[in-house]
Amino acid sequence: MVPILPAVIGDDFPDVMAAAQQGSEAAFSLLWRDGHPDLLRYLRVAAPDAAEDVASETWVQVCRGLTAFRGDERAWRSWLFTIARRRAIDEGRRRSRHPVAPLDDVPHAREPRAPDAERQALENLATAGVITAVLALPPAQAEVILLRMLAGLDNETVARVVGSSPGAVRVAAHRGLRRLAQTLSPTGVTR
């Protein structure tokens, strides 16, 4: 299994963060390189078709607030993904108000759209299948699954990010995964 937290800064995090807050571009670069891949993996599903844009907006907002940030690496990732999640939600609302597709009423802000270059890069069938399946989940289930499975956050951090209780997050994640398994099942159980 691919490790969920492939990249962490670890022991040096306080120094890296402090240096970035003092204006060190090298240190900020480290934060970016550590956080961006997970951010993008998350946003590719949470904000399909706009992942790069939303990631970029997220970093702009991070830069604005960076000097005021206090906390450890866990708090840092929590903050990063809190911003990303809000941006992704805004993006979904914006798209539903001004749909790109020639559809007048998009029934659901997270409706899967025509694949763009970003998603065509993910040529793997299983990958495409699971993206579609996740997007078809109730949003509350989808987002906790994405934050845990792709952003690599733990249960408590996800609860903080989505403003819910750890227990509710766990239940939503279990239900969502179960539903995903049903959708992806070769026996064609659908629901």
């Binding site: 691919v2 120094d15 060190s24 390189r33 993008l40 830069c63 792709l150 279990h174 179960r178 992806l184």
Partner: protein
């Protein structure tokens, strides 16, 4: 009913439901999957496809190219150059404290300069040091800025690998400050070191390979520079943007590209 199609006898603990049977919510298999601790073979059959799909999603290449990082850095520069907007009054530092900090950093710079070796200070003023060291010197002792600090493409982003005195100085200074310095000192020293090493991940490797110049012992990086800062360290003082003693407001062109970990990490 076990052993249908899966491994023979050594399929462990899980009751191994019939193909496609999906455990109910609350099953520990979900927690393991969410935590990423579910080994591939041990997913219940009904969850195997989901596990594989997320493995594929995580393994999918993430390549934003240099543009994304450059944009993020531009935003960073813009935000850093006007920090007054979000400055909060309660974090303003007393002037006396600020000057104390400045003194401490100067002492640290002196330690670093000593570790750099005799001619280093003169060389710094002459602008003849390798870029990261020159930047360190610029920030701490006010030596001229790195020559050619333009984002010119001709400045080939080769990873700067320092040898001998310079590398030893950076490593030693950081090791020392890590133990005795304030957070601000550590931050400054670390960012210089990371820039020289080509990334935070490279720092330990980088310093592990640096021997004391001219010492047969190859003494570790934990050595003490001879010029110990005279002021006592005070770990209580957290870093602070306005306490930034180097006073080098980053004008736009001061990008210092050669010092960046030039895509060599990751």
């Amino acid at each position: 009913m076990t052993g249908n199609g899966a491994c023979e006898g050594d399929m462990p603990t899980f009751p191994s439901p019939a193909h496609g049977e999906i455990p109910p919510a609350g099953d520990p298999a979900y927690d393991a999957m969410l935590a990423g601790t579910l080994p591939p073979g041990e997913a219940p059959a009904g969850l195997a496809l989901v596990a594989e799909a997320f493995d594929a999603l995580r393994a999918a290449p993430v390549d934003s190219g240099m543009t994304a990082e450059a944009n993020a850095l531009a935003a960073f520069r813009g935000a850093v150059s006007k920090p007054a907007v979000s400055a909060r009054p309660r974090r303003e530092r007393h002037p006396l404290l600020a000057s104390l900090l400045r003194a401490k950093l100067a002492a640290a710079a002196a330690a670093a300069a000593l570790a750099l070796g005799g001619g280093a200070v003169a060389a710094a003023y002459a602008g003849k040091l390798p870029a990261p060291v020159q930047k360190l010197a610029h920030d701490t002792i006010g030596a001229p800025k790195t020559p050619g600090a333009q984002p010119a493409p001709s400045a080939a982003p080769r990873p700067t690998v320092l040898q001998g005195h310079s590398a030893y100085g950076l490593c030693t200074a950081y090791a020392h400050l890590k133990a005795h310095g304030s957070a601000a000192q550590r931050a400054t020293a670390f960012s210089r070191l990371a820039a020289a090493a080509g990334g935070a991940a490279q720092v330990s490797t980088y310093c592990a390979g640096v021997a004391h110049p001219g010492a047969a012992t190859g003494g570790g990086t934990s050595g003490h520079p001879s010029g110990k800062p005279s002021t006592p360290p005070s770990p209580a003082q957290r870093t602070h943007p306005s306490g930034k003693p180097t006073a080098t407001p980053s004008h736009a062109p001061a990008t210092h590209p050669a010092g960046l970990p030039a895509s060599s990490s990751s």
